[in-house]
Symmetry: C2
Subunit: 232 residues, 2 copies
């Protein structure tokens, strides 16, 4: 299967969760919107009136299928890439975890954009500081604790795309909230161990060393603003 | 199959999307947490250390399966209730739409809680007014327009759980933003028509007339605050 991934160029964003699965499996795929003509094609596929147009990137072309929504794409790819079981209960279980990661990601984004994406950060810095304090104190440890518990059950699960997504969450959170994460990582050693294990996988190591991996930056979902990662 | 639904009592919330599917299909199910003992059971199922504990309600017990995340539950139930095709492409397609509805729902919630659920509305009213203005002007018409386009393709699709969820979105948005919706409904007639069609379905009509349907209120995801539904 020749997969075509469509996602905003210049950021990791939600596309990265799909990329990590494709790269770990060593599957050949085209990251279409990285070229100017591919970018125009992505935009045209989202135009009003087009049948089956996706609401937003990422989306994946797989033969005659056009699949949007990150978790939905991973649900489809999982068993095909050897990153999920083939049975329905196993697939539903992983998907449930991936959807919880998606919720977590929205909250990590909304820390710097609590009033919405149509305002600049500078226009909502005050609101962002309040939301950030609550995120660091309450929401972040709640999600970390939940997934630490999930990884505690690891002996019963083979490696899968949720492990890759948890790696990416740790990558992003370390970039955005280095102070908070330094404190929390000590209590969530299985998440750290999972991160290190993913780093050592050949497909991932090659990907991270390549220019296909975009660096974190202030256009991305995870953003580092020192004022949102203070001590109190 | 004897389904058991677990969700916060006293609100429609995310549980309502599952309830509408079960009620439309005329399936027998228990809304467990409506009783005091059932509520305690729901809380105990989310306790730390429990294997496979869900992050949050709703979740569904279906035989030996415990399935969380609203869209995941509907993905499972869809073909079993006759509310989704059985083929994988058809299921993925509906699921993609349901996940986009889930994104829309988060934004409808965040209008009144832009700083997060750990602050009262009164503590974030100023931020809420700014987010509400952007939601009414930009985000609401974007989502409405997207799903209006989806319904335009209706001839190719049998009735399904996404139609039920779109009914519920219109119900909630009419309650929360009556002024904005009065204006927008004129341009989104297929969404209104879908709403009326769902209203007339026997299972739904019986459900809405019963005391199983909780009224909208200010603890729910959709909330009516007149200051968030002004003209400008």
């Amino acid at each position: 299967m020749n997969y075509e991934l469509y996602y905003w160029p210049g950021i990791q964003g939600r596309g990265e969760f799909v990329r990590l699965a494709l790269e770990d499996a060593g599957t050949s795929y085209r990251d279409v919107a990285r070229s100017a003509s591919g970018f125009r094609r992505m935009i045209s596929m989202m135009e009003r009136g087009k049948a089956d147009r996706p609401f937003a990137p990422p989306f994946l072309r797989a033969g005659s299928l056009l699949i949007a929504q990150t978790a939905n794409i991973l649900f489809y790819l999982g068993p095909r890439l050897g990153l999920a079981p083939k049975s329905e209960p196993g697939r539903l279980r992983l998907h449930q975890l991936q959807l919880t990661i998606a919720d977590w990601l929205v909250e990590a984004h909304d820390v710097h954009h609590p009033l919405g994406a149509n305002f600049y950060f500078e226009q909502q810095k005050r609101a962002a500081k309040r939301r950030a304090a609550d995120f660091r104190k309450n929401r972040l440890p709640k999600f970390l604790g939940y997934f630490e518990g999930i990884l505690r059950q690891r002996p019963y699960r083979p490696f899968n795309y949720v492990d890759l997504s948890l790696f990416q969450m740790l990558e992003g959170l370390r970039y955005a909230f280095p102070n908070a994460m330094k404190k929390y990582e000590k209590k969530h050693l299985r998440l750290v161990e999972n991160h290190d294990r993913v780093l050592a996988r050949p497909g991932i190591a090659a990907y991270l060393a390549s220019d296909r991996r975009v660096a974190f930056n202030r256009q991305d979902i995870f953003r580092h603003y020192p004022e949102l990662d203070t001590e109190k």
